[in-house]
């Protein structure tokens, strides 16, 4: 029987290598050894994805490698999730994600979804090509703490401004933090249209989202 350390290391390596079969194998070992499934996913799976993102930042990894890693993480999560006892100590923040209307490029948004889910956020994924009005409705309906919008095309990124303007018009801009991302979206432009942040990649989105949720909860007088 493998030790806890061997299982954790094997699981993390499988994710970093993008090896779905190995990830599933180590996840089964973890279940058999009675390890905490929640910790396996959120801590060790999350740590592995952090390594993946560091490699992405260093241009050692590119989107295909990150997708393979995400698939490997998911293969492990499929096995571990029935054994997970949710962490009840904190209320997870709600994040609504969407690729803006007219844009069907959702790789970046999907990576952010995986990273945020692994970090314990409640993620509502509206998919791609989402009309501005539908996105604003979903933000209201779910009382979202953060909305993340993505666009890969310079022809569609103006829709982000459209959504932010709608939030302002409806008087709810102060209730939700806005992050934006995607190839052509620069930080200067993001701030100029009134977004709160433009994390430079999926792993940075986790830190940015945590920071914004803390800020939002402080504004509301809540604790994180």
């Amino acid at each position: 029987m493998a030790t806890k350390e061997e299982i954790v290391n094997g699981f993390m390596k499988a994710i970093v290598d993008g090896d779905e079969e190995a990830s599933a194998k180590w996840a089964k070992e973890a279940v058999a050894a009675g390890l905490d499934a929640y910790e396996m996913v959120t801590k060790h799976g999350g740590d592995a994805m952090t390594i993946v993102n560091q490699k992405y930042e260093k241009k050692e990894y590119f989107v295909p490698e990150v997708l393979c890693a995400a698939n490997a993480l998911n293969a492990g999560v499929d096995i571990l999730s029935p054994h997970m006892k949710a962490d009840k100590t904190s209320v997870p923040a709600t994040v609504v994600l969407a690729v803006v209307e007219g844009d069907i490029h959702d790789i970046g948004k999907n990576l952010v979804k995986i990273m945020l889910s692994a970090a314990g956020f409640r993620v509502i994924d509206m998919g791609k090509d989402v009309p501005s009005a539908a996105l604003v409705e979903k933000i209201k309906e779910t009382k979202a703490d953060v909305v993340g919008m993505s666009a890969l095309m310079s022809t569609t990124m103006p829709r982000m401004k459209n959504v932010i303007d709608m939030l302002k018009d409806q008087g709810i801009r102060g209730k939700v933090k806005v992050i934006v991302g995607g190839g052509p979206v620069t930080k200067d432009w993001a701030l100029s249209i009134g977004a709160d942040d433009r994390p430079h990649d999926a792993s940075a989105a986790v830190g940015a989202t945590k920071g914004l949720v803390e800020k939002l909860r402080a504004e509301r007088g809540e604790t994180w």
Binding site: V63, P64, D103, H105, M153, S154, G183
Partner: protein, 341 residues
């Protein structure tokens, strides 16, 4: 000296011979359609993408309304995917068509019919190109745009799946699929050249270094592009969106005539890397200058791009549909008052 028509000027500039022209060309090889133009010539999206009469009017609007020194067809990137069987969302006046469904489950399922350029909207494109040539004579250049092999692969297989295959499948198999798609592009261009087009623009937005590694670009994309450069037989402009800095040394060896850089790449930096191996075109940022800027801001950006050595002055990417006409025209105004001596 014979009259320097916009067509002659464009052909000199796009092949890196701008100093033999009287001034910089302002031909736009990327998406040129704006809502203003659609309204001005009563040829709106989505109909103009499928109706030959409206397509002719809207293509001509690039010159008639804005003054861009050339025509370009088609207006969208879905012609190839549609002809191969993908379902298309036709969009609306300020929204480009997009691919909704993929058609092949696996690399080995890829089958491109021999008569592919007779299917879907290929014939419409070639017919409109022919009509532009007939009605405008040799005065203006006509650009035949093709959707590049990587982007088409993303359309027909699904981009995430195809990305994963670049890691999990033998490189030779992935490259072979891209090569097959490039043969469809080549057949399309051969037909278009017979319709009187002068320049080919390969728009491969998905092949960006935001997605792919320089290694994959060098080992898979470069041989495919070189195959296209060898076989097409006309000046070729490649456009890839996003930050392509790490690709520049390879793009210089593609055999293409020009590379269109997106706003994330400084044209001066690109020129420094590629030298005189390939022309650098573009330089006017679509979002910050053309869409949200003012005519003055566009002029400043255009002058800056010319100073940095761009060979054709054009937007850094496809024009956002809501771009104001006065901003778009400001770019053309700058090109017109630039004279080489």
């Amino acid at each position: 000296m014979a009259e320097m028509t916009p067509r002659k000027r464009a052909l000199l500039c796009v092949t890196g011979n701008k100093r033999r022209a009287d001034r910089i060309s302002c031909m736009d090889t990327l998406t040129t359609c704006t809502v203003d133009q659609m309204n001005a010539v009563k040829a709106p999206f989505p109909e103009a993408n499928r109706d030959p009469e409206l397509a002719f009017k809207l293509a001509a609007a690039a010159w008639e309304v804005i003054g861009l020194e050339g025509f370009k067809l088609p207006f969208d990137l879905c012609v190839e995917a549609e002809a191969l069987g993908c379902k298309i969302n036709w969009g609306r006046i300020d929204r480009h068509p997009s691919v909704e469904t993929h058609v092949f489950n696996d690399l080995k399922d890829l089958k491109i019919p021999d008569d592919i350029v007779e299917r879907g909207r290929f014939p419409l494109k070639h017919d409109v190109e022919l009509r532009l040539r007939k009605e405008y004579g040799d005065y203006l250049p006509i650009v035949n745009q093709v959707t590049g092999p990587f982007t088409v692969a993303g359309h027909i297989f699904g981009i995430e799946k195809f990305c994963i295959w670049t890691k999990k499948r033998p490189l030779a198999d992935v490259r072979e699929a891209l090569m097959q798609i490039s043969e469809m592009n080549i057949a399309d261009c051969k037909k278009a050249l017979k319709s009187g087009t002068d320049v080919v623009c390969i728009a491969d937005p998905s092949a960006t270094s935001d997605i792919l590694s320089p290694t994959f670009f060098k080992e898979a994309m470069l041989p495919v592009y070189q195959n296209m450069a060898k076989k097409i037989g006309a000046p070729i402009v490649l456009h890839i969106c996003g930050n392509t800095s790490s690709y520049l040394p390879f793009i210089a060896d593609s055999g293409f005539d020009a590379f269109s850089v997106d706003a994330q790449v400084d044209p001066g930096f690109a020129k420094a890397i590629v030298g005189d191996k390939i022309a650098i075109v573009g330089g006017v940022p679509t979002i910050t200058a053309l869409l949200f800027g003012t005519p003055q801001k566009v002029k400043e950006a255009a002058i800056d791009a010319i100073k940095k050595g761009v060979d054709v002055l054009m937007p850094s990417c496809g024009i956002p549909p809501r771009t104001p006409t006065e901003n778009f025209k400001a770019m053309v105004d700058v090109a017109r008052c630039m004279v080489y001596v």
